[in-house]
């Protein structure tokens, strides 16, 4: 742990976030105590399966949850300021200007009845009322060129359904970055794209990060994407964080049974000769969370304590933390003074 007394305030801090949705079947607890920090210019990757709460935690930051979802507990600090208390107007200011988001399916995420240019200039002029239409168009065109779309001037006048999937995602990225936000959240940005286009988009995002210097949070279920892009990785299951660390930590020294299970179930150079082992059981029912660890019912190595108590988060390494009772049993954690 660094002992800088003058610690720089992190760009974004999510502290003990709890988010749930009210449904007619009960309260769905999508996020149950998630905390992470994002430093300026860095990339954070959040990986988990569907229903793990990874997207919801990102939406909670931007406060664009569906109508029946709300943050029940916790704080989100942007440059030290608590944005969970922002008014609607302040939030509208925050979105797009300080923090932007791109989504999974660019076809449905762009409004079909307006041109691409219209939607980009809207992003510009929402946050800067003094910009004229002409200037906005010019800026939009520059942005399109920056994201690698040629004939940008022509493209501005086209409708979303006239562009290919990869191009649409580039448009989304251009739209998100046009106001030069300090954070870009990417929710499954490549899932809906072909594999070859995936690589292009990821390359583009890393390139832009170097050029514009924004921090990126990338949310995905694809371990390969995460490995490429992230400085730090967070693994989520059942609305909680299982493990966090660098790509090396996670891939070469997994310390949570869920992470281990994930790595066993995907093809990689290390298990080329072996059979892939899927994780048994079905995803957790968020209406009825178990008392203990979220993963216990599906875990091969589950112990009695796992069923009863939520495992604490323990430090494995300088950069590596995990919440698993196995580490307690095997004394794999670092004992240290709390603070």
């Amino acid at each position: 742990m660094s002992t800088n007394t003058e610690k720089q305030t992190p760009l974004l801090q999510v502290i003990d976030l709890h988010t749930s949705f009210k449904t007619d079947k009960g309260e769905v607890k999508a996020v149950n105590g998630v905390s992470y920090t994002l430093e300026a210019g860095k990339s954070l990757g959040i990986v988990g399966e569907s229903g793990s709460g990874k997207s919801v935690s990102a939406y909670s930051i931007m406060q664009i949850l569906d109508g029946n979802g709300h943050i029940t507990q916790g704080k989100v600090l942007f440059k030290g300021e608590d944005i969970t208390n922002y008014t609607a107007k302040q939030m509208e200011d925050f979105r797009g200007k300080h923090c932007s988001m791109i989504f999974q399916d660019p076809m449905t995420s762009l409004n079909p009845v307006y041109t691409v240019g219209n939607q980009i200039t809207e992003a510009i002029r929402t946050h800067n009322k003094n910009v004229s239409q002409k200037e906005a168009d010019e800026k939009a065109r520059e942005m399109l060129e920056l994201v690698g779309i040629n004939e940008a001037g022509r493209r501005l006048k086209q409708y979303p359904h006239e562009l290919s999937g990869g191009m649409r995602q580039r448009v989304m990225i251009a739209m998100a970055l046009v106001s030069e936000p300090s954070i870009l959240i990417a929710d499954e940005p490549t899932t809906a794209l072909d594999v070859t286009i995936q690589a292009q988009i990821l390359e583009l995002m890393m390139d832009l990060q170097k050029k514009l210097g924004m921090a990126i949070i990338i949310v995905t279920h694809d371990l390969g994407v995460i490995a490429q892009m992230s400085d730090e990785i967070v693994v989520m299951y059942g609305g909680r964080i299982c493990e966090r660390g660098t790509a090396e930590d996670i891939f070469y020294n997994p310390c949570h049974e869920y992470t281990k299970g994930l790595l066993r179930s995907i093809p990689s150079a290390s298990n080329m000769k072996k059979k892939l082992v899927p994780i048994a059981g079905s995803p957790i029912n968020l209406l009825n969370m178990p008392e203990g660890c979220a993963f216990c019912a599906r875990c091969d190595a589950a112990m009695k304590v796992c069923l009863k108590q939520v495992p604490p988060e323990l430090r494995i390494d300088d950069t590596h933390l995990a919440s698993c009772w196995i580490n307690v049993r095997d004394k794999k954690y670092r004992e240290e003074a709390l603070a």
């Binding site: 003990d16 599906r298 069923l307």
Partner: protein, 353 residues
């Protein structure tokens, strides 16, 4: 990172807890929501809907009343009321629970006169029983017309949907043409035309119902089934192309089995919902026609014709319009709400939310 770090040793955890958990214990931790059938789930949702439940209650009450009332009330809908066997000239247009002079005398002498719950009409007939019979007619017409639409529509739609190809194309073109014809005009036209033709037959059924009712049924049978046919065909097409049907076929399931297990259950909800919403539409049409004088023949009442006759005396006896009008609105409203409730509960397309 600030947070939840805890010194595990301080928790004083019993080492025995670090024994592996048994499968049984794990199963208990994995609580899944109980699975129900589609039908049970839908019924549960329906019963939770207060408007739908209210509608069911109202409809049951109405049906109950119109079944029991003729047994209780001693008047019939065409009887001009007599007091003690004698004509009573003063019994026209009485208000609710009012007695005419002659009836009053009769009661004073010790006779019993069943109260006129809704008064009498301009010819001295008990209005309550007329309204009850009117409701009967309206509901019966609505029900039978809807069943007719159901049968024709489902058969036509299923054949078109299942057959596919050329047959489907032709059948749907016919549907398109019929769909674009203005129904109301054709009903009126047909009714105008058929009346002089059928007037002179001796067929008892035709005489009882009246030519106009026959027209309504004919036109419903000819025109109104197209909406149902389209829906049924659409459902069948969707299901036919669904992956699970493909899967069933690939493991060798016979067509009859596929129809029974996959296609019919998915269609039933659509069919029921459409029928439930068709009934008020039929009642509407019937009362509209009765109102413009093309409904049932006098003296048989229907809610629409009662409303029409009440128009003349509207200023002096407004209640004669209110009773049948309120009943129409109530019945149609109840069916509409029930249909909406059924749709919310059972429509597969809406259930994703």
């Amino acid at each position: 990172m600030e947070e939840t770090k805890v010194n595990p040793l301080s928790l004083q955890i019993d080492p025995a807890l670090f024994e592996p958990a048994t499968d049984e214990e794990k199963r208990q931790a994995d609580v899944m929501s109980e699975s129900t059938t589609f039908f049970k789930d839908g019924m549960r949702k329906l019963m939770k809907n207060p408007l739908a439940v209210g509608s069911i209650i109202v409809l049951l009450l109405v049906v109950l009343t119109i079944t029991i009332a003729p047994l209780v009330v001693p008047y019939t809908y065409s009887d001009i009321i007599r007091v003690n066997g004698k004509r009573d000239r003063g019994n026209k247009n009485l208000s609710a629970f009012e007695y005419s002079e002659k009836e009053q005398e009769f009661i004073d002498q010790g006779g019993k006169v069943f109260p006129h719950i809704m008064g009498t009409d301009s010819l001295g007939r008990d209005y309550f029983i007329r309204v009850v019979y009117g409701a009967r007619i309206s509901l019966t017409v609505g029900l039978f017309a809807s069943i007719l639409v159901l049968i024709i529509g489902v058969i036509y739609g299923s054949i078109a949907g299942y057959a596919g190809g050329r047959a489907d194309l032709i059948m749907m073109r016919i549907v398109d043409i019929i769909y674009s014809l203005p129904d109301m005009l054709i009903i009126i036209l047909l009714a105008t035309v058929l009346q002089p033709i059928l007037e002179n037959t001796s067929n008892p059924l035709i005489n009882a119902l009246g030519t106009n009712m026959i027209c309504i049924f004919i036109v419903f049978g000819l025109l109104y089934w197209v909406g149902m046919a389209r829906l049924v065909r659409g459902q069948i097409l969707t299901i036919k192309n669904n992956d699970y049907v493909l899967a069933a076929r690939s493991i060798g399931a016979k067509p009859a089995h596929i129809i029974r297990k996959h296609i019919i259950p998915n269609c039933i909800s659509v069919i029921i919902i459409t029928t439930a919403l068709q009934i008020p539409s039929a009642i509407f049409t019937e009362s509209f026609l009765s109102f413009i004088g093309m409904g049932v023949n006098a003296p048989m009442p229907s809610l629409g014709s009662l409303a029409n006759s009440a128009r003349e005396g509207l200023q002096t006896y407004p209640m004669q319009l209110v009773y049948p009008a309120v009943l129409i609105v109530l019945i149609v409203l109840a069916f509409n709400l029930l249909g909406d409730g059924l749709r919310d509960a059972f429509d597969p397309k809406l259930r994703s939310k």
